[in-house]
Symmetry: C2
Subunit: 657 residues, 2 copies
């Protein structure tokens, strides 16, 4: 095999039962997967082939799967009870049994024999978005090429099944396989050209409880339909979509729906015809509804031709400004997909204000485990602590359950179409995610989307044990690396929430002024005296998009969380933070600390030589060594920039160039 098994790399366990009996009455693709997974796992873990029987009473290990619609767990929830060589997995549906199976295997692999688990997934949709292009490239992909597409053809290989197993094991139930920027032949994914391989792919996904989604191009009526318009209210356009959408749902099994990036960064949309986002989304939703299909509409809409001289326009405002007026207008099977922050996946942003604003609209939280702005899988940056903070954010939207986790799970307003989605970080690299440690973000996202109450550190521990085994030293060191990685990355890159000090286009490596005079609305406004963007009512007014008390909290420099101070305020370098340090000294200190942290992560990893599988050790060692060097480059460029600009010396007299 040309790729690793990640956290599904089952190892032989001690204390093997002599025989294993399994009772599983269900039939169908998912039940078949459960049987196959059991055989595969028990063979690897115990060297035992399970016997499928009506009763498991006499076996050394007996596993009973029970599908019970009245169990109160729903079709995806499960209960697993293990005691004295008997394990019982209960769910209201086969998918719940599958998730229960993987949960059971995890426990067994971590050495537990007696345990009880009950999980009902927090989010209805737990999704991965691939930004894969049909030529095989991946937009913002850092793990090789696509395993879905190559040279404008689909590649439905054995790897697809392993991918489906992997994501099902963490509870993912939806995947969009193509880039939201739908270019070239990708528009034809909804036509006949790719029908046969799409059906094969969808069947594999179906076996693992995963619905297939496609990104579509809103201009398809013109692009592939031969029409002279793509106006969503035009009769011919409606007829085009009715026929296309029906054709897709009727022929591709287990099809979920469509993802649409419209009127954003040059993509076509309803604006060209004087129509609203709701007009566009609802038209598509109307034709998907008979099939239970969903339209996922991205809210990443902003003016990407801003003049840097214009200090009134604020990209942070744009998502809210574009969509808040349409609350309640979207159909029941439309979901607005909203990024965690108002800018674009920076290492630190406030939470997107739309979550607290929309009340009558389905919402989905979009995060990015593809580390576009967080080191591109050449730096380790474990993102679950960031997502944890986002999920816990109180929106004060007026309802009882008012956190982001509440809202996107449907608890707040009773939505049934909602959830979490990650721009994913996989590719055809041997280890799937470029950096071996980046797999923790894939694993972690799935686990967190399934159970938004989880602790990031515990998720990390589970992932480490399942990937690297149960050695305590390995566990301890990798846990430290993961848990210190996001803070370290934030320290040596962008201070106090300002963001964007990256090389234009690639978004890799430092360039303090790289976006400062560009058209993307991403400015830090640093000068001799200070830095930051005034987003208070006296500035762009962005803070008013939050509910109180958040709006006032952010607008006031005294109460604004310091890690976001420069996001919300233009502050003098001399301003004293709660630490007693000035902002300029904080910049110097955090950059020196961050580079030291990166060096320490490398040292922690190097202590594991011989304890971790050699190929994986070497791959990660190379990247951590790169990171340690690159962190110095970040440190020096940023410190030099601010030293030259501010003319303030480092209190500790360290070398600033």
């Amino acid at each position: 095999m040309s790729y690793t098994k990640t956290w599904l790399n089952y190892q032989k366990l001690a204390n093997c039962p002599a025989e294993i009996a399994v009772s599983l009455a269900e039939q169908g693709p998912v039940a078949e997967s459960i049987r196959r997974e059991l055989e595969l796992a028990f063979d690897a873990m115990y060297g035992v082939k399970p016997v499928f029987a009506d009763t498991v009473k006499d076996a050394a290990l007996g596993v009973t799967f029970c599908c019970d619609a009245a169990c109160g767990l729903g079709e995806e929830g499960f209960r697993v009870e293990a005691a004295s060589g008997s394990i019982r997995v209960v769910s209201g549906g086969q998918r719940g049994l599958l998730y229960g199976l993987f949960a059971m295997l995890e426990q067994l692999r971590m050495g537990k024999t007696d345990f009880a688990l009950e999980k009902i997934p927090s989010n209805p949709l737990r999704m991965l978005d691939h930004w894969d292009n049909l030529d095989g490239s991946i937009e913002r992909g850092y793990s090789g090429k696509s395993f879905f597409f190559r040279d404008n053809e689909m590649t439905v290989t054995g790897r697809i099944r392993d991918y489906a197993r992997m994501i099902a094991s963490i509870g993912i139930n939806a995947v969009c396989i193509n880039n939201v920027n739908v270019r070239g032949v990708a528009a034809e994914l909804i036509a006949q050209r790719y029908r046969e391989p799409l059906i094969r792919l969808a069947r594999i996904f179906e076996e693992y409880g995963v619905k297939l989604f496609l990104s579509l191009n809103f201009a398809s009526p013109k692009r592939i339909g031969g029409l002279d318009t793509s106006d969503p209210c035009d009769g011919k356009v409606r007829a085009f979509w009715r026929e296309r959408i029906a054709d897709v749902f009727e022929n591709i099994p287990n099809f979920g729906g469509f993802v649409v990036k419209a009127d954003s960064e040059g993509e076509p949309g309803p604006f060209a015809y004087g129509r609203t986002h709701a007009d566009g989304a609802n038209m598509l939703a109307e034709f998907a509804r008979p099939y239970g299909g969903i339209i996922i509409w991205r809210c990443f809409v902003y003016n990407c031709q801003q003049d840097w001289r214009d200090t009134r326009t604020d990209r942070a405002r744009s998502g809210y400004d574009n969509f808040i007026g349409h609350d309640g207008e979207f159909a029941e099977n439309v979901i607005l997909q909203i990024k965690n922050g108002p800018m674009d996946f920076q290492v630190r942003e406030p939470v997107h204000p739309l979550f607290g604003g929309l009340k009558k609209t389905n919402m989905m939280l979009e995060v990015q485990i593809a580390q576009e702005y967080t080191g591109q899988q050449r730096h380790v940056c474990y993102l679950m602590p960031m997502f944890r903070e986002v999920l816990d954010f109180k929106t004060y939207c007026g309802a009882e359950n008012d956190t982001i986790a509440d809202i996107v799970s449907g608890r707040t307003y009773g939505n049934r179409s909602c959830g979490m989605v990650a721009v994913t970080n996989t590719g055809d690299d041997e280890n799937w995610t470029g950096h071996d440690l980046a797999a923790a973000n894939l694993y972690g996202f799935g686990r967190l989307a399934f159970d938004t109450s989880l602790d990031p550190e515990e998720i990390a521990e589970d992932w480490i044990r399942l990937t690297f085994g149960l050695n305590e030293k390995v566990l301890g060191n990798i846990r430290r690396i993961l848990m210190m990685s996001w803070p370290a990355y934030e320290k040596y890159t962008s201070p106090l929430g300002i963001g964007w000090m990256v090389t234009p286009h690639t978004h890799f490596g430092p360039d303090v002024e790289g976006y400062e005079y560009d058209r993307w609305g991403t400015y830090h406004r640093a000068d001799h005296m200070g830095i930051g963007v005034d987003r208070t009512p006296a500035g762009t007014g962005y803070t008013t998009q939050y509910n109180e008390p958040n709006a006032s909290l952010y607008a006031n420099t005294e109460t604004c969380p310091e890690e976001l101070l420069l996001f919300f305020h233009h502050m003098p370098y001399a301003y004293v933070l709660s630490s007693g340090k000035t902002i300029i000294q904080h910049i110097y200190d955090t950059h020196f600390e961050g580079a030291e942290d990166a060096a320490q992560m490398l040292a922690l990893w190097r202590e594991l030589e011989g304890l971790v599988e050699p190929a994986a050790y070497a791959r990660a060692e190379e990247r951590l060594a790169f990171q340690a060097e690159h962190a110095k480059e970040w440190r020096d460029r940023i410190n030099t920039y601010f030293h030259r600009m501010s003319w303030v010396e480092d209190e500790k007299g360290r070398k600033i160039y």
Copy 2:
């Protein structure tokens, strides 16, 4: 025809002679061109077909071409005497007659009938380097695609002949057709694959007195020769080159030699084998010598992996440091090709110190009329005034004739292989040079290389008359545009010789810190208090590469020419220039002035609507309008950067963002 005739667009003249007789005894390709050019020109100018006869006595206009080896003009010099309907063109060779013919036509077209001209070309070599790639792209090309190559094939079309006519008319006698970065199949230009079209191309060039050169890849022995080394001292490598070079010279007519970029910016060279530039160049020269061939070796060698933190390494030093120790080692048929400045074709640089350093080495001055750093032919920037300053620069090399013009013409040390070369600005655009006004740089370079004593303004006038006709308003306005264009570009871009504030890679548009932390050795070191690079003995010591008194002149802030002050010194913004202005105020003022100049150039051009051919008017109007807007962007970004950095207000209170 899909392209214009530029300055060879002959118009009907008044006072046509009734008949024209021409006496031209010579035979051969160049003589045939003279006959063809005469027929073409006299038909267009007078509607008369010239009669070729032994004597021209009885014709209304009689033109006699006389080739006389004893005339003292050499093979390329000429004398033209016109009086009372009789014109006599004398040269020591057919190429001189051809140049005399074009000179005569220019005079006639400018309305002169009685005149006397005598010209002996200043420079033995007057060359154009194309950076054309075989896929049809042009590195740093701003006028469309290559007209030599397309899709890895050669395109020897009718346009090649028109190109040869055009450059012969301004005295160019050598052309290298392919990029000095010899990538991919370009290495095979010296093999059989392209032999047939190269022969056809060389024949066309030969008809116009132009020698064909090729850029070669120093690693060819490995790349296309199947050897395991390209060591210039290896016997097999020498045999490879001996055979290849002989084959090229013996089969391609009128072949001139090779251009080599070695050990520079990633190109292969002799360093890999512990050999010197002289080892590499002389080996090639040895095999070219029997054919009168020349090896042109570029001196653009520097460390392109510099650490920005390293303030001792100085890219400006590198050409001198790499080559000065090898003075006298190069073979007689090797020429070192040296850029006008030590960095890379910035709008303002000091003259390259190698010119004053080397004494026993053939040298060629390389300039760039492809406007890589001077507006990419979307801005008008007439470069002859810059080249004039370079040619007039006194090197104090110890000889009597010590200017750059003296040195590269061979006057100083008696060299016979030397001259001037321009990286050219042509492509397959309709107007050849992208911007119609950029053709002035092509025309001007040829004229100036032929006669280094010419005044840039007079060259401009000739070009305007030949291109746009004799209207005084047209002449006056375009002359003003051209003559103000270089100073204007310098004003709104880079102040006081600092250079490099451009967008990385593309080199188009402002980005003050774009190269500040990069690896290319191009830094301005701006901080709150000042800006500039200390290249005095207290700094990098670059000034010591000049002869006295230049070395001291540059090293002393009091005597350093102000337009180069920041190139040589790190200066406080508060430093007062001879104008009475501080440096920071100078920056503000020049940037406002430069943008105003750009607006004025547009206004001057707009006054010519209806007086200039409509298509050319519209093309240039669009570009000048773009330039006026883009100059504001330059102004605002640079002023804002320095205002933010220095915290000094503009004395005049103008808008700085």
